[in-house]
Assembly symmetry: C2
Homo-oligomer: 338 residues x 2
């Protein structure tokens, strides 16, 4: 509010040049004589001038800001993706505005105020599990999906190779001799839950094992949902010998429930998750999991988005990143030391 901040014209006046020359200097343009440049630069320092980003955005028609919409900002997986995206954005002198949208309405409002009001140059959407939400995103607005591909529209995306990851997780259990393998999924409305379920099925089929839908329980990614999943198996009196949980938190809930029910892990029940959260290795027993590189996913998404914005590469790209099996004691007593 203190309007005391010097503008480009104040600097120009003091330096005895035109404001345009100052503009040239702060933008590093070539057509400025060395002497003038030095003079202007000195004046800038002396006056403590700093360019006004909003005015620049205004004149250039670019905000140099990206937005990221995510179901929430606290889940470790999501936060890691966001952090990766933010770091990459800063690297390219962009800012990242991250917001959470729980329901479709708040999502729409957010898109409206971010995209419609031209507050940002591009948008990253994490877990965009319903394409319908995008009906009113303007055509040609730079968007990248994370965690799911676009079905109806041509939107670039980056996600885990969910089918393959699930396949490999299930394979790991099979390779340990398990034949009675249950599955705890994320919300089935999300693509990645579906894909991971398919990978699970493929591994079973390939091993000649039957697919039993009653061994599949839908969770909501929370530890609580994992806990109640195992509980319900216990209550039915048909506890499997192994469970593939589609994320670590649900796996941890399962471990907890197993403890309560006096089921020994891994001897009576083997458990594998997906993510490799920082605390996974501290659990009892330490959790076997499929480690994914979430910051990389965010980084990759940002790169793709910036490419689109800068019109370097507008082609549709659907990147699928791998995960890496980390064997710990929840599936095998011999599993990786600490």
């Amino acid at each position: 509010m203190l309007n005391s901040r010097p503008t480009i014209r104040d600097v120009a006046r003091k330096a005895g040049v035109s404001h345009q020359t100052v503009s040239r200097v702060i933008n590093g343009k070539q057509d400025v004589s060395p002497e003038t440049r030095v003079l202007v630069e000195a004046t800038i320092v002396q006056m403590g001038y700093q360019p006004n980003a909003i005015a620049r955005s205004m004149a250039r028609g670019q905000t140099h800001t990206l937005a990221c919409i995510s179901p929430n900002l606290t889940d470790y997986t999501l936060a890691s993706v966001i952090e990766g995206a933010e770091t990459e954005a800063r690297q390219h002198d962009y800012f990242l505005l991250s917001s959470s949208a729980v329901d479709p309405e708040s999502f729409s409002r957010l898109v409206d105020e971010l995209v419609g009001h031209r507050r940002v140059d591009g948008l990253i959407v994490i877990n965009p599990y319903s394409d319908k939400r995008f009906e009113h995103i303007p055509e040609n607005f730079p968007v990248v999906f994370v965690g799911a591909q676009s079905h109806e529209q041509n939107i670039s995306s980056v996600c885990l190779d969910d089918e393959k990851v699930a396949y490999e997780a299930t394979r790991h259990l099979i390779s340990l001799g398990h034949t009675d393998i249950a599955l705890v999924t994320g919300p089935m409305e999300e693509d990645c839950s579906q894909d991971r379920t398919e990978g699970y099925q493929r591994a079973l089929k390939e091993a000649g094992l039957p697919f039993d839908p009653t061994k599949v329980i839908e969770g909501d990614w929370s530890a609580t949902s994992g806990q109640s999943a195992l509980l319900s198996f216990v209550e039915q009196g048909r506890v499997p010998t192994a469970i593939f949980a589609q994320n670590d938190r649900m796996a941890m809930g399962i471990l907890r429930a197993a403890r309560d029910a006096n089921i020994k892990v891994p001897s009576q029940l083997a458990v594998i998750g997906v993510d490799d959260m920082p605390l996974s290795s501290y659990f009892d027993p330490p959790l076997t999991t499929m480690r994914q590189d979430m910051p990389l996913i965010g980084q990759e998404a940002t790169r793709m988005l910036l490419n689109i914005i800068q019109r370097k590469n507008t082609d549709l790209r659907e990147v699928k990143l791998p995960a890496q099996l980390v064997v710990r004691q929840s599936t095998s007593d011999k599993g990786g030391g600490r």
Copy 2:
């Protein structure tokens, strides 16, 4: 880039009024005749006009955006504060730009580009453990600290009542009969680590227990650092009967190390943490902790910041929020069920 987006003047032309009238309508000003208003509103809808936020910022000299600088975006504690802040900001039609700054240099650069370039109207700084960082924040720029108070400057702040929380945690251990109580701290350069250490000392003193500096180990908030803390006690052959860890993650590391060292919790070793992370109750044994309401902290910080920005309440305020003891099995077998 498609310059096809209608402006206020396009709407005005089509509606046969001046652009100023359109401005009045979209800003809900009173001096517009009902008929004109209806006409303009219809035209706006018809043309799909949406105001350009950047242009508004430019004309108003306000960005309607806040920034939040945090050590990182992934720690559950920090992410929760940020999420609380973001939600509150959105409630007031502000956006929150959250960035992480690991070292002082990147912090300075960030402040420069956010504040110096007038990209935001206000700033929330989480864990501002060195006031020196703020030397070049302009006077009178709206700033609120989270997690620590300002010593050298008059900056409003909101944080946990760290001294009291630590006091209560230690009291809990003492009330269980413990006299040999060790402490694992966060980085001592951070205010909250110091305050929590003081609370620990006060509780000891009050109970007539000696303060033994060799029973204090400095960690870095990570589970790993908790683990090695207990390890070092074990190696020294002087394992205490109770440990107060200044956060949950370190406490979890301690539980893990205890398991490895075959130390029974809580019979041989009681452990209490601070935070109450979502997974704390899933640990083995479930972790006793001081629960803090992190979203509330973020919310409160945002409110204070907006008050300052809107000049409603510029007084220096230093809010300290309480925490709540949650007893689980890591300190007492009788501790709260599941």
